[in-house]
Subunit: 316 residues, 2 copies
Amino acid sequence: MLDTDILFGVKLKKISESITSQIAKLLIKQNVEFEPRALPVLLVLKEKESVNINEIAEILGMTHPAIVQITNHLNKVGFIKHNKSTIDKRITLLELTEKGTRNLTLLEPLIVGIQNTVKSIINEIDSNLIYSISKLGKAIGNNILMNRVLDELRQKDLAEITIVPFKRKYKSDFKLINREWLKKYFEDEGLEKEDERFLNNPEKEIINKGGEIFFAILNNKVVGTCAVIKIDDFSFELAKMGVTEKAQGKQIGKKLALTAIGYAVDKGVVKLKLYTSEKLVAAINLYKNLGFKEKVKKDDHRYKRALIYMELDLSG
Amino acid sequence: MLDTDILFGVKLKKISESITSQIAKLLIKQNVEFEPRALPVLLVLKEKESVNINEIAEILGMTHPAIVQITNHLNKVGFIKHNKSTIDKRITLLELTEKGTRNLTLLEPLIVGIQNTVKSIINEIDSNLIYSISKLGKAIGNNILMNRVLDELRQKDLAEITIVPFKRKYKSDFKLINREWLKKYFEDEGLEKEDERFLNNPEKEIINKGGEIFFAILNNKVVGTCAVIKIDDFSFELAKMGVTEKAQGKQIGKKLALTAIGYAVDKGVVKLKLYTSEKLVAAINLYKNLGFKEKVKKDDHRYKRALIYMELDLSG
DNA sequence: ATTATTTACGTAAGTACTTACATAAATAAT
DNA sequence: ATTATTTATGTAAGTACTTACGTAAATAAT
């Protein structure tokens, strides 16, 4: 089996299934009249004399409907009887019938045998195992796992980032964010004409021509952006990808790019192109990670700084 | 929860269910398009590129129909595609679609978060646990548990003892076995008249009067016997219970008595009586264990040696 | 005393698997 | 070359639970 911790639960289930099914086979060999799954309930009843449904459910860590189903079955085969409590009329008290007691007594050697064997198999592996599993059972309850994962994601703000499409109110953010990285990396060169055209008229130049602009929102503030520009019916360009410095390292670029790719796929696009610069190392790695391949530029591009050309094939 | 080793499997299942359901909740929070149970399959696919159904089943330790169901679902939501192998036309090769890859990439922070959290929760409890569980998974396969239990029972002959009702061919055994213990414990007194009557004519004196005699068979030989004698429609007597010395300690007396009690219950008997002697300590303990209560003798009984009178109430 | 909430149980429907069985293609045995 | 066996997948039905929801009785709150 794939040994990933995330699959630990799957592995536990398999072991549990294996134990349960082997015990079931042993019970069937003994021609017991009850369904094997009722054994745990019978063991509780044997121990406790008179208990109600909720108590059994709690003792076994199961839900009450499960116990209702099992006890109805045990009643039908005559192993237990149901008595309504006179003190509290909601409560159903359960106890073994004479037949139930007798049959359980007959099963005692088998039960002891299973008990001993389970214990010895476990002890041969790790004498601490039963104790550790008990602790794990207590530790993992109450959605502890879920909450810890959420906390971890929240610390990285990963859980709070939303990606939304273009709205007019984001127009200024679009310009701001792109200016930020352009200035940082290409201060000397300054903004090119093409930059100005897109940044000043995103609606006219991108949206109305069949493209889209996505914005990453964190705490109600725009922290990243990314545009998809339509070239023709089969190819779009990924451009104007930027994340504010403060918000970097939160996978925002990846989320934006993935949303953009999803958009392109929905539009039936076969090829997604992009132009970037060797200066933007992190971006290039992200693109490669997403499946973009570097190709030789076929044509001179509009931007002087763009020396690297990449393509993502979406025809699969 | 009741801390019996026999319920170890139940406990494992609960932990597994808890882990799985918490991961499912996290996935649902992220609005994934696939059913949570498909995650393990997706993780395999992410790792392996192109695999077939049986391979996934083996990697995850599940049956192939489970994988068929999950992969059909993943295909329907567009996360994977099915390709028939050209080399072997039976084989279905599975691989992630672009959409599947993209969505998995988007989930990566969550998956890493779960991975880390599961690992740390487990390590906080017992750094050896994952390894021990892995070993247990391997150790418990192939019906090892079942076979070891069967071996244990077989060593005590517990699995091989059969209880059968009276047949003529057992008549001599009935006499022999009862003589054995009568001689051992009551040598001086010798056989009483009542003994002779029952031992010499079991059919006439017991069977034909609505009673029954049970025999315990081990390796085709009679090793124990026990009679139920009808007193009236509501009360029977348990008598002539004996197990050969060689076969003692195998719970044969208990099995015989339980069969006898079952017979009485089937006949609608309300009270099962027996007379025994204080010399027979083991027998008295067995009777008590089965629910018989000692009462004061109401009448002088037929046997001089019988000083103890017991009753079992079957009206419950 | 009345109303609201909680508790104990019951029922229906869903989930995530399993076992059992069927079929076509590939491989092994004759 | 046939026939038998094995393998890879598919399908139906069963198992052992769960969640979601409903009801009546008990308890708490006003």
